[in-house]
């Protein structure tokens, strides 16, 4: 074990001297990280051996932490609630760079070419863009929607060509920042997109941006392939006439569920998953589920959609069969299920149970539990296969 650690620590040095043949052959394709939210640590995991490889601590307040990966899958960029952005190397398992970039942060994105990392912040409301290699600040983009008024930023995602798209919760707007020339960012604004966008997603082809609205029944949609994109409302009034249920946790749209030509989206204030045709953007079904959906995520092949829930229903996970569009299975993998992540090709899903200090690895065909890993209050699970996906 000791020898292995020394080898890993020596990797960078070996690479630097060009003696590639001496380096142990360690790829990053089956690596990942699990956020240990209560202790400010990140656990490193391997999805082939289904083991915890090690940990790194000192990452600060990781409640609601999220992660994006460098293109080579070797570096995880960790966005902490306390505004810290940390670059963590998965091979050396060390923090390579760290900046306190805001007072309160909610997540981030990495540019298509891997050169820029952007953080979305609540305080001060806006986006900051960093050099992915050094974490030097490249651009500061306050979400100033009226003189002196900054909006909390949600739904940040990468778009082709060093662009980032994001929604302004307090301003009912969506902005696109083009950093082709980082010294002179160009911002395109879409106004009156709908009340209180709370999160958003980019479809796997990078064409559509969909923002969920908290303040009204419906979502905002932008077709980014058009010369002059416009924001329009879809599924307006999907719950009209019904008394909304309390939302004890905001759904997350990132980690989209697009399966075939259907998109599966969490309803808000309803215990339902909405199914939308991505050709027409009309609703085609509403699937009743066990609680307020939080994550609605498609298995990579789109054959299943997995759903977890807000408190008090977060001991359950449901699996939707995308052919029948019905719940085919209800699992109870543990208490306080916070996140799910599929292995790169989806034969297994990793599920974090915060209150069991456990990550369960579940076979997505048989639903058998393949492994249980002890992880301290786990929340987000992030595998390096995200590095190759738009919107992750």
């Amino acid at each position: 074990m000791m020898r292995r650690r020394e080898c890993l620590a020596g990797l960078a040095a070996i690479a630097a001297t060009g003696c590639a043949s001496m380096a142990p052959s360690i790829g990053t394709g089956d690596l990942g990280v699990v956020v240990e939210r209560a202790s400010g640590r990140l656990a490193f995991v391997n999805t082939t051996s289904r083991t915890v490889l090690g940990e790194v601590d000192g990452l600060g307040d990781l409640s609601h932490a999220s992660v994006v990966f460098s293109r080579d899958g070797a570096n995880a960029y960790v966005f902490g609630r306390d505004g810290a952005l940390s670059k963590v190397n998965l091979l050396t398992r060390r923090i390579e760079a760290r900046v306190m970039q805001a007072g309160n942060s909610i997540g981030g994105a990495i540019s298509q070419d891997g050169a820029l990392v952007a953080a979305q912040n609540y305080t001060p409301g806006g986006v900051k863009v960093f050099d992915a290699r050094t974490l030097a600040l490249v651009a500061d983009l306050p979400a100033e929607y009226a003189p002196g008024r900054l909006s909390r930023v949600v739904g940040l995602a990468d778009l082709p060509g060093r662009r980032f798209i994001y929604a302004l919760f307090d301003a009912d707007q969506i902005w696109i920042a083009d950093l082709a020339d980082a010294a002179r960012p160009v911002i395109t604004k879409f106004e009156n997109i709908g009340r209180q966008p709370y999160d958003a997603l980019v479809t796997p082809d990078g064409r559509h941006y969909v923002a969920g609205l908290f303040g009204e029944d419906g979502l905002a949609l932008i077709d980014l392939w058009q010369d002059k994109p416009v924001a329009r409302r879809i599924l307006a009034g999907y719950g009209r006439g019904e008394q909304p249920l309390p939302v004890y946790k905001m759904p997350h749209l990132r980690g989209w569920a697009v399966a075939g030509r259907q998109a599966y989206l969490p309803a808000i204030g309803r215990h339902e998953v909405l199914v939308v045709d991505t050709e027409t953007w009309q609703q085609v079904a509403r699937i009743p589920v066990a609680g307020q959906p939080v994550f609605v995520i498609a298995r990579p092949d789109g054959r299943q959609v997995w759903v977890n829930f807000a408190v008090p229903d977060y001991h359950r996970v449901q699996v939707i069969d995308t052919l029948t569009q019905q719940v085919q299975r209800t699992l109870e993998p543990g208490r306080a299920v916070l996140h799910m992540e599929f292995t790169p090709r989806g034969e297994a899903v990793w599920i974090s149970s915060r209150d069991n200090d456990r990550v369960s690895v579940i076979d997505t065909r048989s639903f058998a539990t393949l492994a249980e890993l002890k992880v301290d209050a786990p929340s987000g699970i992030f595998f390096t296969s995200r590095a190759a996906r738009i919107g992750f």
């Binding site: 609601h64 305080t123 709370y198």
Partner: protein
């Protein structure tokens, strides 16, 4: 005493004090521990695990200093229309909402290390 041990002792003391204070208000110690966890972990998804704020406002002692108890209880119990703050009355009694409100204003207890 190592600083960590001191903090642990302090948390235990704070918790014990909480227990003593609330005894008369009908929230038993086991439930108090649950409520501390609910606030830190579940309210924490919007307000931050350290209650420093997020989509919801900060709930630290400093942030709560000028907030009246009754309106805080009402916010917890009934929610705030027009904002994402839901009413928690399906999961809490009003007595429990008051217990939480009072502790938020006084500085909310930490969860004991598990």
């Amino acid at each position: 005493m190592k600083p960590q041990a001191a903090i642990r002792t302090l948390s235990a003391t704070t918790l014990a004090l909480g227990v003593a204070l609330a005894g008369a208000q009908g929230v038993d110690p086991a439930r108090q521990a649950e409520l501390v966890r609910v606030v830190r972990q579940d309210c924490g998804s919007c307000h931050g695990m350290r209650l420093t704020g997020g989509l919801g406002p900060a709930l630290t002692r400093e942030a709560m200093a000028d907030k009246p108890v009754d309106s805080t209880v009402a916010t917890i119990f009934h929610g705030r229309p027009g904002t994402p703050m839901p009413g928690w009355r399906l999961m809490l009694s009003e007595v429990e909402a008051r217990w939480i409100a009072e502790r938020l204003i006084a500085g909310f207890p930490e969860e004991p290390r598990r």
